[in-house]
Symmetry: C2
Subunit: 321 residues, 2 copies
């Protein structure tokens, strides 16, 4: 059954993004340079949502994880855990989206695997993607490189993917459909790197949202981070949805946004490069690294007060990726 | 929850086999040379079985897929899909086995991911491993390189892993416990490559067993393959279990065996190198590539007749990996 799925479903669906053979292992040309290596399993429910599905999310997610280490993503593996009884049509739509997303991102699907589990022992389709990228000489992007004075930039409006998923799940209607922002960010990162600026930290704030990413960076880099609440771009419809759902947009997942830390002298040229890219048109500075409260994140509120932006502790995050 | 699992469960369990940080993406030294890249999701039931569990199976499986392309495995990623309510003790045992298996195989667990799904939407623990290896100059091992005259070698007794799993599942007792042969084969492959022999094809006959691997190789290489049934090593206990379960050992999964195709002139030195390695002591020649029936596999039976060894078509293979 797996062999038939590969020949008749996955390979045609993946299209030009796949190698001719999806064997047990792919042998690839030496990319030369340090490698970046990343993996992610995707279990998002519903599998199909406004603006995407589990397939393009799985491709973009791993492309972005690689890009966040400053790498150029090259190759992806795909592995499916299919629940018996899942309509082939749905699997085909997911695979087609993966092929299209891989082509868009400029990566190749080079090896794969499929397992089928009994009905009731899985949940439709789970997708794992792992990826290999190459890191250019001189690039050193790490969550522990944020430095006192660094400027914090986000690439656009936050909270969109999480709200898109939760709106569907809760059956909410906000007048307009909120579409996931799922997108590959490797092109945006390439534009930022092309400026020659020394990017210290890049992160795509997925599970746990911007607040979680900032906290992880503050801890890893042992700096304090202060953001200006009013400067964080949140669209009206996301703000409305969040207040209805009782959510803070800072904690809501994104799939096509990044946060960058750069030295103040580099901020202008990096911002400019981002605004010149389709996935960074709304890029803005939202804060800075400070010497107060190292390891912690604070937000200056609209009233001029300062509040701690904590990690969400013990909370069960919904299946948004 | 994922962050806590990583810090308090996975990292201690993986031990010295893991990097200090299991971040979104690992940046690794340039290995120099062509890369091999492979992925596999593991859904075996039961998760714990005589001779191993889903964790060491997941490490050995991807190590072996890399080794079968002639690569030296270097790095593995690990990704878990955990069903809510799975005992942490079981997850810990699985992770500990993974760390131990990685150390044994000489590979490092460098990046990972964890997802939790609702109870009833998964099945305990699913594990994905992807892996990167490096292929030395001059090595060209591919399923389509089998050539007329090539000698077919298996590394030992077949059908052990599948029978071990199915015995537990069916509650069968054969007097002695049959233990899975799950093992990393990269050391054995390294010994074979060290002879300088030109290995044409390597394959670990997992799902679908030896018959399926031979069929895939015959098709890919467009050669006929003839095996001598009496020369295929099957232990008495596996033969007994298979006859009780109505199985043909040729179709039963292995996890610590390989089949190799080499030119007749290389057969002796390769066999010798295998027999000198703990995982190849019982290596034997079982057949040859012939010009009759290209793309097909035939077995000479004990009675001197020849029977076609087909691909298992449309059969639902049990969850043995």
């Amino acid at each position: 059954m797996s062999a038939e799925l590969i020949d008749h479903l996955f390979l045609p669906a993946f299209g030009e993004a796949s190698q001719s053979v999806l064997g047990d292992s792919a042998v690839l040309p030496a990319p030369g340079g340090r490698l970046a290596f990343s993996t992610d399993s995707f279990v998002v429910r519903p599998m199909f949502f406004p603006g995407g599905n589990i397939g393009d999310l799985a491709v973009n997610g791993t492309v972005n994880d690689l890009a966040m280490s400053g790498a150029t993503p090259l190759y992806l593996s795909t592995s499916f855990i299919l629940e018996e009884g899942t309509p082939l049509r749905e699997i085909g739509m997911i695979a087609t989206s993966m092929g299209r997303a891989a082509s868009t991102a400029g990566v190749r699907l080079v090896t794969g695997d499929t397992k089928v589990v009994d009905s009731g022992r899985g949940d439709g389709v789970f997708v794992n993607t792992a990826g290999i990228g190459v890191v250019a000489e001189g690039v050193d992007v790490r969550p522990d490189r944020a430095t006192l004075g660094d400027v914090v930039i986000v690439s656009g409006y936050i909270g969109v993917h999480g709200v898109a998923i939760m709106s569907v799940r809760e059956g909410l209607d906000f007048g307009a459909t909120i579409e996931s922002d799922s997108a590959p960010l490797n092109g945006l990162v390439a534009a930022m790197l092309a400026t020659g600026a020394d990017l210290h930290v890049l992160r795509d704030p997925t599970r746990g949202g911007l607040a979680t990413s900032l906290n992880e960076i503050a801890r890893a880099s042992k700096v304090g981070i202060r953001i200006i609440e009013a400067d964080v771009p949140v669209s009206d419809v996301v703000a409305d949805a969040c207040s209805l759902l009782g959510l803070d947009p800072l904690y809501v997942a994104n799939e096509g946004k990044l946060v960058a830390f750069v030295a103040p002298g580099d901020a202008e040229v990096v911002l400019e490069s981002m605004r010149g890219h389709p996935f960074g048109t709304d890029a803005v500075v939202i804060g800075q690294c400070i010497d107060a409260h190292p390891g912690m994140v604070a937000a200056r509120t609209g009233l001029g007060a300062e509040r701690v932006v904590d990690l969400p502790i013990g909370e069960q995050l919904p299946r948004i990726c």
